[in-house]
C-alpha cells in the first residue's frame, strides 16, 4: 500500500496510500532512514508507527535513498493529513525503469482495494 512517482532523471518519491494511512490510524512516528543506503527491491526502508500498529515500508525497486522527508520527524501526522502530498516519506534513485513499469497504476490499485 505504497505509492511511487517518478521525478525524472531516475529519481522517485515514495509514500503510503490514503487507504494505508486510514488503516494504520493516527501516525505517531516515522523512522528516518539513512541517506545513501542502497537497497534491493522488496527490502524494508523504514517503519511507520501508529499507536496500535507498526508497518514496514518496503522499497518497490532496487535503489538508493537520496532524500528523506525531515518534516516527518516533528510532524508525523502529515502522513495522515496528506499521504500523497507533503506526507511523502523518501526519495530514491533507481535505474530499474522496468521495475517501475511493472507496478500497479492508480486505477489498478483502486480496483485492488475494492476487492480486498
Amino acid at each position: 500500500h505504497e505509492w511511487v512517482t517518478s521525478l525524472g532523471s531516475q529519481n522517485y518519491r515514495l509514500g503510503i496510500t490514503d487507504f494505508a494511512q486510514k488503516q494504520l490510524g493516527d501516525i505517531v512516528f516515522v523512522e528516518i532512514p539513512q541517506i545513501g543506503a542502497t537497497l534491493s527491491q522488496g527490502q524494508p526502508i523504514t517503519v511507520v508507527e501508529s499507536v496500535k500498529a507498526a508497518s514496514d515500508i518496503y522499497i518497490p525497486m532496487d535503489g538508493s535513498i537520496t532524500t528523506v522527508n525531515q518534516e516527518l520527524e516533528s510532524s508525523p501526522e502529515l502522513v495522515n493529513e496528506e499521504p500523497m502530498g507533503d506526507g511523502w516519506i523518501v526519495e530514491y534513485k533507481s535505474s530499474k525503469t522496468d521495475q517501475f513499469q511493472s507496478l500497479m497504476n492508480k486505477a489498478q490499485y483502486d480496483e485492488y482495494i475494492k476487492e480486498h
Binding site: 512516528f29 539513512q34 508507527e49 496500535k52 500498529a53 507498526a54
Partner: protein, 973 residues
C-alpha cells in the same frame, strides 16, 4: 459425607476458591441447558464437559494430587511451615546481585501483602490504573537519575536476562547485517555471563569473555558489558574503554548496583549507553532468587529499541495529565517476530516496592544507607587486615575480597559453622558483600570467624573501635565519587514520615481497579482468586530471607517443595520433566524452544529451524521463535477460527526437512476446544517436528485433559494465570516448562548452583536457578488445597461460568466462535465489529464504558480486532457474572440508542466514557444525557461507586510527545 469424622477439617478450600455454590451451579447449568443434546447426565457439569471437550483427548480419571485427601487451610500452612523450617536462615554476605535489605514494614504490609496492589492486571486500561502507573513512573525516574541515563523502562525479569536484552539491543541499534560480536567483562556476575551466552548462541552472536582491559573492538563488535562495581567488588574506571568502544561504533553496557550509585559516578557520566541491574536491595526480600525487578535505562535516542514496558505521560480527554504505557508498537503483541523482545509480564509489584523504598528514604536517606554500608565494608576490611590476611587493595563499595590462599575451604566451613555464608570467589579467595542489615554483631561474628584461623595472634578490635580508627580512610577517590544529585523530584522528598507514606500508598491504590473491587474478565489472562492463605508463606523468613546461592544443605525445605510442585505440574500436564527456572510465560516459551533446539541438535537435526505458528497465536510466540533463531511460518485459520489443518499439513510437508516445531495454544486463543488436536500433533511429528503447547489457556484443561496426552512435547505454564500467583499489576509471573522424557535431559542448568536441570542441561535462561522461588509456595498451596477433585471441579466451573455468560449474552451480542455443539471453552469472544458502522462504536468504547460501571474491561481487540474476549474464571460467583452480563446488556441498549438516533453518534455516553468524578460534579454539564446516566447507570454503582480518576487517555499525544519520567509537581492532583 455421611461417614465424615467430626475431626474432618471444615476450613476446606475448594468451596472458597470456586465462586458459585452448588445451587448456583445447577441454576447456571439449567440455563445453558445441555440436556437438549442428550439425556445422559442431563444438565450436569459432566454433560457440559462432554460436549465441550472432544472425547478422544479427555482424561478419564482424576489427577493424582495429594491422593485427594481433604486438607484444611490452616493445617496445610502448618504442614508447609514444617517444610519451610528445613531451610536454614543464615546470615548471607554472598552478594552477586543479591543483598540483604530492610523492607520497610509500611511497604511490606501495604504493598507486598496488599491485594489492592498485588491483584490488578498490567495497566492496559490506564484510566483505572493511574496509581500504579504513577508509582512505575517513579521507578523509571529513580532508575534514570541513579544511572544517569534518561530513558528507563518499568522493569525486566532479572539482571541476567536484562543483560541478554541489552546485548540484543546493541545488535538492533547497530543496524548491521552481521556478523555480530559482544564482549563480556570476565568480572561480571557468573549467572549474567551464563544467560548472555544462552541468548547469543542461537542468534550466532560471538561472545568473548575477557578482562575489559583487553577488549578488542573489532569490526563485528556491536557492544560490550562490564559490571560496575565488579562482581569481585572492585570499582574500575571504564571511561577510556568506553571511548575506545564508541570510536569503534560499539555500545557500552553497564550492569550496576543502584545503592552503590548513591556514592559513585553514574554510568551515564562515564560513557555507558545502557545501564541495567537488580533493584532487589531497594526493599525487596532475597526470596531465594526472586521475584525482583531488574531495571534498564538508556539514552533518549534509543527509546524505540528499548525492551519491555515503558510508562509515559499523556493527557486525558479533558486535558489533564495522565499516565499510560507508551510506545507499545515495540512490543510482541504488535510487532510479533520483529519485536524488540518477547517480554510481556515484568516485575511491576517489585518495581513498585523498590520505587516506594526510594520515595520513603529520599536522596539523603539512601545516601546514608549507602555510606553506612560502605563504611562497614571499610571497617571489616581493616579488621581482617589486622588479623594478618591480605585484602585486595583496590577501591570497593560494599564487597571486600580477601586472599585466603590454602585456608579458603577451611574458612568457608568455619564461617558456615557460625551460620554465616560468604562467597568463595576462587580457590584462593573469599568475598564478603555487606548490606544495610549488617550490625556490629555481624562484623564481630565475621572477624571472630577469621580470627579462628588467623596468622596473627588475636589482634581483635571491636567494630566500634575499628569505626573510630578508620574514620579518615577513604577508598572512593574523587574520580569515582558521585557529583550529581539524584531523587530530586518532590515525589522523593515529601513522604518520609510513615503517615505520609501510608497515605501516599493508599491514595495511589484507590485509583486502581483490582480484584478487590470487581472481577477482571480479561480473556487469556485468567484473573482468578489469589487466596490469602496462598500468599501467607511468601512473607515467611524461611522462604523470603534466603540468598539464592547458599549451600544446598541450607535450602532443603525449598528442595522438597520444588520437587513436590514439579511432580504435581507433571501430573497436571501429562509430562515427565519440569524446569522451574523460566521467570515468566515468555521465558518459558524461549526455554521450551531452546530445549527443542538442543534435542534436535543432539539427534543430528540442527538444520531444523522452521517454526509453524497459527495466525491466531499470541504475539509472544513468534517473538520467542525469533529469539531462538527460528524462521516463523504462519498457519492460517478457517472461518470458524480453528487451525486450517489442510494448510498446516501442506506447510509441515513443505518444510519437512527443516521443520523444528509447531507452537499451538489449546484450547485455541479463540476460546474453543478444537477437534483433531491430536491429529495436528501427529502431522508435526510425522514431519520431524516437535509440538510446543502454549499453556496460556491451561485453566481450561487442568484435570480434564492434558497436553502430554494430546501429543505435545513441551508446554509452559503461566503460574500467574492458572496457578494463582497474583498478577501484581504487571508481574511477577512464573513460566515453568514441562516436557516429555526425551526432552528432559536438556532442561536448563545453572553455572553457580550445581544439580539443576537435566543431565545434558542447556545453559541458564534466568539469573536464579529456580526463577522466582519465593512465590512458588502460592502454587504449592493452591494445588495441595484443591487436590485432584478440586482442580477438576475448578476447571469445570471455569468452563461453566464462560458458557453461562455466553448463554446470557448471546441474544444481545454475537458470540464469535463456538465448538461443534455450540459451547465455548473457558473464555469467549463477543463481536462488536458491526457497531462501528451502525453506531460509530468500537471495542474501546465498550471497555471504557464498563469502567463507569465499576468494571475492568475484557481483553480488547485480541485475537480479533474490534472484539472483546471474556474469561470469567471459576472464582467468580453467579452474582458477579450476572452483574457483568447486566452491564454488557445495558451497554447494548446504549448502543441501540445511537443506532435508532435517540442518542448522538458523536456525543454519547459511550464515546465520552469513562466519566470522572471531576466531570460529574463540574458546575457545567454540557452533555446530552444526565449525570446519573453517566456515572450511576447500574444499582451496583449507586450502592458503591468506583471512580476512574482520569478521562479517556489520548494515546496519540503520549506517543508523539514521549515523557517517561515524573512530570512537574503542578501536574499532580
Amino acid at each position: 459425607s455421611t461417614k465424615q469424622s467430626i475431626f474432618q477439617a471444615l476450613d476446606t478450600f475448594p468451596k472458597r476458591h470456586i465462586g458459585p455454590n452448588e445451587n448456583e451451579i445447577n441454576e447456571m447449568l439449567k440455563s445453558i441447558n445441555t440436556s437438549k443434546l442428550s439425556k445422559k447426565n442431563p444438565n450436569s457439569l459432566e454433560q457440559l464437559i462432554e460436549y465441550t471437550i472432544p472425547k478422544d483427548i479427555r482424561l478419564n480419571r482424576e489427577l493424582n494430587i495429594e491422593e485427594n485427601k481433604v486438607i484444611g487451610e490452616n493445617q496445610l500452612l502448618k504442614d508447609l511451615k514444617k517444610i519451610a523450617e528445613k531451610n536454614k536462615v543464615y546470615r548471607s554476605f554472598i552478594g552477586m546481585g543479591y543483598y540483604g535489605t530492610i523492607t520497610p514494614h509500611v511497604i511490606q504490609r501495604n504493598i507486598l501483602e496488599n491485594p489492592g496492589w498485588y491483584t490488578p492486571y498490567t495497566p492496559y486500561q490506564a484510566e483505572i490504573s493511574q496509581g500504579r502507573l504513577e508509582s512505575l513512573l517513579n521507578f523509571q525516574t529513580m532508575v534514570s537519575e541513579f544511572t544517569g541515563l534518561p530513558m528507563s523502562n518499568a522493569s525486566l525479569l532479572d539482571e541476567a536476562t536484562a543483560a541478554a536484552e541489552a546485548m540484543q539491543m546493541c545488535v538492533n541499534i547497530s543496524k548491521s547485517k552481521g556478523p555480530f560480536a559482544f564482549l563480556v567483562d570476565k568480572y561480571c556476575h557468573p549467572q549474567t555471563i551464563d544467560t548472555i551466552k544462552t541468548r547469543a548462541e542461537p542468534k550466532g552472536i560471538r561472545i568473548e569473555v575477557v578482562d575489559s582491559k583487553d577488549f578488542k573492538f573489532t569490526e563485528d563488535v556491536v557492544g560490550c558489558i562490564v559490571q560496575y562495581p565488579s562482581s569481585n567488588g572492585v570499582i574500575t574506571d571504564y571511561k577510556e574503554m568506553a571511548d575506545r568502544a564508541h570510536q569503534a561504533n560499539a555500545l557500552v553496557v553497564a550492569a550496576t548496583d543502584l545503592l552503590s550509585l548513591a556514592l559513585l559516578k553514574p554510568p551515564g557520566e562515564w560513557g555507558a549507553d545502557i545501564a541495567l541491574g537488580n533493584s532487589q536491595r531497594f526493599g525487596v526480600p532475597l526470596g531465594f532468587g526472586g521475584p525482583h525487578a531488574a531495571f534498564f535505562s538508556t539514552k533518549d535516542k534509543y527509546a524505540r529499541l528499548l525492551p519491555g514496558r515503558i510508562i509515559g505521560v499523556s493527557k486525558d480527554k479533558q486535558g489533564n495529565s495522565a499516565f499510560r504505557m507508551a510506545l507499545q508498537t515495540r512490543e510482541q503483541h504488535i510487532r510479533r517476530e520483529k519485536a524488540t523482545s518477547n517480554i510481556c509480564t515484568s516485575q511491576a509489584l517489585l518495581a513498585n516496592m523498590s520505587a516506594m523504598y526510594a520515595v520513603y528514604h529520599g536522596q539523603q536517606g539512601i545516601k546514608d544507607i549507602a555510606n553506612a554500608v560502605h563504611r562497614k565494608a571499610i571497617i571489616l576490611a581493616e579488621g581482617i587486615k589486622r588479623l594478618g590476611y591480605t585484602v585486595l587493595d583496590r577501591p570497593f563499595f560494599d564487597t571486600v575480597l580477601i586472599i585466603t590462599g590454602d585456608k579458603t575451604d577451611m574458612m568457608i566451613k568455619e564461617l558456615e559453622s557460625r551460620q554465616i555464608n560468604v562467597r568463595q570467589y576462587c580457590s584462593k579467595s573469599i568475598s564478603i558483600s555487606l548490606d544495610e542489615t549488617v550490625t556490629s554483631a555481624d562484623i564481630s561474628a565475621l572477624l571472630n570467624g577469621f580470627s579462628a584461623h588467623a596468622s596473627k595472634p588475636l589482634g581483635l578490635s571491636s567494630p566500634e573501635q575499628l569505626e573510630k580508627e578508620t574514620s579518615t580512610i577513604s577508598v572512593i577517590s574523587e574520580e569515582f565519587a558521585r557529583q550529581t544529585p539524584f531523587l530530586t523530584h518532590p515525589i522523593f522528598n515529601r513522604y518520609h514520615s510513615e503517615h505520609e507514606l501510608l497515605r501516599y500508598i493508599h491514595k495511589l491504590q484507590k485509583k486502581d481497579l483490582g480484584l478487590t473491587t470487581a472481577m477482571i474478565p480479561l480473556g487469556s489472562c485468567t484473573m482468578k482468586l489469589n487466596a490469602t492463605t496462598e500468599m501467607y508463606p511468601v512473607s515467611w523468613p524461611e522462604f523470603n530471607s534466603i540468598h539464592p546461592f547458599v549451600p544446598a544443605n541450607q535450602s532443603l525445605g525449598y528442595k522438597e517443595m520444588f520437587e513436590s510442585i514439579s511432580n504435581m505440574l507433571c501430573e497436571v500436564t501429562g509430562f515427565d520433566g519440569c524446569s522451574l527456572q523460566p521467570n515468566a510465560g515468555s521465558q518459558g516459551e524461549y526455554a521450551g524452544l531452546m530445549v527443542i533446539r538442543s534435542y534436535l541438535t543432539s539427534i543430528g537435526q540442527s538444520q531444523r529451524n522452521v517454526c509453524l505458528i497459527p495466525v491466531s497465536a499470541h504475539g509472544t510466540n513468534p517473538a520467542s521463535a525469533a529469539m531462538v533463531g527460528m524462521k516463523v511460518v504462519v498457519v492460517d485459520c478457517d472461518t470458524n477460527g480453528n487451525i486450517d489443518v489442510a494448510d498446516l499439513k501442506a506447510k509441515a510437508e513443505k518444510h519437512k526437512d527443516t521443520l523444528a516445531a509447531l507452537m499451538i495454544t489449546y484450547p485455541s486463543t479463540h476460546g474453543v476446544f478444537e477437534e483433531g488436536a491430536n491429529d495436528i500433533c501427529d502431522i508435526i511429528h510425522a514431519n520431524g517436528g516437535q509440538v510446543y503447547m502454549d499453556g496460556a489457556n491451561m485453566n481450561a484443561q487442568v484435570g480434564l485433559c492434558r497436553p502430554g496426552d494430546i501429543g505435545a512435547d513441551v508446554c509452559h505454564l503461566n503460574l500467574h494465570k492458572t496457578f494463582c500467583i497474583p498478577h501484581g499489576g504487571g508481574g511477577p509471573g512464573m513460566g515453568p516448562i514441562c516436557v516429555k522424557s526425551h526432552l528432559a535431559p536438556f532442561l536448563p542448568g545453572h553455572s553457580v548452583v550445581k544439580g539443576v536441570g537435566g543431565e545434558r542441561a542447556m545453559s541458564a535462561v534466568s539469573a536464579g536457578p529456580w526463577g522466582s522461588s519465593s512465590i512458588l509456595p502460592i502454587t504449592y498451596v493452591y494445588l495441595k488445597l484443591m487436590g485432584g477433585q478440586g482442580l477438576k471441579k475448578a476447571t469445570q466451573v471455569a468452563i461453566l461460568n464462560a458458557n453461562y455468560m455466553a448463554s446470557r449474552l448471546k441474544d444481545h451480542y454475537k458470540i464469535l466462535y463456538t465448538g461443534s455443539h455450540g459451547l465455548v471453552a473457558h473464555e469467549f469472544i463477543i463481536d462488536l465489529r458491526m457497531f462501528k458502522e451502525s453506531a460509530g462504536i468500537e471495542a474501546e468504547d465498550v471497555a471504557k464504558r464498563l469502567q463507569d460501571m465499576n468494571f475492568h474491561g475484557p481483553t480488547m481487540s485480541w485475537p480479533v480486532p474490534n472484539t472483546l474476549m471474556i474469561e470469567p474464571t471459576e472464582s467468580e460467583s453467579k452474582y458477579e457474572l450476572d452483574r457483568l452480563c447486566d452491564a454488557l446488556i445495558l451497554i447494548r441498549e446504549e448502543i441501540r440508542e445511537i443506532e435508532t438516533g435517540k442518542a448522538d453518534r458523536k456525543n454519547n455516553v459511550l464515546v465520552n466514557s469513562p466519566h470522572t468524578e471531576k466531570v460529574i460534579v463540574a458546575d457545567n454539564w454540557n452533555y446530552p444525557y444526565s449525570r446519573s446516566k453517566a456515572a450511576f447507570p447500574t444499582p451496583a454503582t449507586v450502592a458503591s461507586k468506583f471512580w476512574p480518576t482520569v478521562g479517556r487517555i489520548d494515546n496519540v499525544h503520549g506517543d508523539k510527545n514521549l515523557v517517561c519520567s515524573c512530570p512537574p509537581l503542578s501536574d499532580y492532583q
